[in-house]
Symmetry: none
Subunit: 142 residues, 4 copies
């Protein structure tokens, strides 16, 4: 199962529904393909200007380093200078807090990533994981 535009759009719909169900603040959701390129994005009314870039950075960084952005945060807690340098190396496209979740198919192959920003990082991650799993794919948060 590859990550089509239809599936990416379905993930966005599910993520926004999860946010509404939990009473989260307005969310911004970005879905990237395995190469880190945008497939679909949505910024809800009331989300601040650059939430797209923050959400994108969570997802892009996850794909860049092959781990969910929660694991990248843990590395930042240990070696902030490494993550700072990696962020610079990637032109800023790495945001080291939860909410960037890898998408794996039933064979374990990475198909892309979802990045969400808007509420607490933990809640952003919950919305992302819920939406990925609702689509029959596997979410990797760390």
């Amino acid at each position: 199962m590859s990550l089509t535009y239809a599936l990416a759009q379905s993930i966005i719909t599910d993520a926004l529904a999860a946010g509404q169900q939990h009473g989260f603040k307005p969310l911004t959701v970005v879905v990237l393909d395995a190469g880190g390129h945008v497939i679909a994005a949505a910024r809800q009314d009331g989300a601040s200007n650059n939430r797209f870039e923050i959400a994108q950075g969570k997802a892009y960084g996850a794909l860049a380093l092959g781990m969910g952005s929660r694991a990248i945060m843990e590395r930042a807690e240990q070696q902030a200078y490494f993550i700072a340098a990696a962020t610079a190396t990637l032109g800023g496209r790495l945001i080291p807090v939860p909410g960037g979740v890898l998408i794996r198919d039933s064979d374990g192959i990475i198909q892309g990533a979802v990045g969400i920003s808007g509420d607490s990082s933990d809640n952003d991650e919950t919305a992302a994981s819920t939406a990925i799993e609702a689509s029959g794919l596997t979410a990797q948060v760390d």
Copy 2:
């Protein structure tokens, strides 16, 4: 009428429908708010890696200079060095070919812009204008 996420998503749906109706190649559609920030984006299956950035640059440049990207192309035909410099000034977020269309409301106020990339520039522009007008807003291509 302000450019909500719901309206941006509706513009994307209409643009993709226009593309399908005319038999266009896979399209990538980006909708920006008046400040040039992403509200919604969609890249259809088969579109190449960086079509998001191309579509975004058409729309961002239109907002940056206050004219549709067709007018920016005309300026590039006359003074290529000016548009090259402006592109550098804007960090690359200016693509001077048709397909970046300003969105005005009934009072003439700019509410945002749509950028489309994937088929010929003229066809990209057609899809953008069709979708904007279908939403009851006014499209400005130059």
Copy 3:
């Protein structure tokens, strides 16, 4: 009430007057619209070379994340690596200390932001808030 150039210029005048009244060091004041674009700026005699960029970064970051730069500082105190990464993501346009203040109108809509740099961060913020409130708008510092 939208943030016109006349109103932005009035905010600058009021901010400089507040600085003079309190005996602050030379201030630099930048007023951005809701999309983060410069409306007006003033750097007083004696302010160092790049105070414009510092003041701009306070205001731009506030709009980017939807909170005053005091709240961004608090986040930096907790997770310095997150703010460092967000700064890189925004191309450097985020300065996480007080003095970047959101401007809301009577309906609570964000109309822009003021960034001030030159004296202590707390004093910079005082000048910004005083000027915004003097114009009949609401200042949000965190």
Copy 4:
């Protein structure tokens, strides 16, 4: 006579008055000191998002190369690749069309530059030169 903030603000006022007198479109005016750093800026209502950056680039480039932006345009007409490379070297802060005017004092010393964008490049330059001369300084357009 050095270029104080008060004088920079006076130049802006005079430039906007010249624009109004001639019926120019909304102008954006940026005044830089001799080091290329912002002293004051104004973007009139109706000017598009990134006119500040365009006006800044005209003035910064003039100071960078020691000639008005009209002369830089003439160089671009002859060797577009040189100006393209110089623009990249300066991080985009060079716009090679008229409207970037050097400010010299009575001893011929460069005190700064004015950049204007919004109407035709020739008209932008007229507003800049008129304002500089009105302040008792000398304008150098090429």
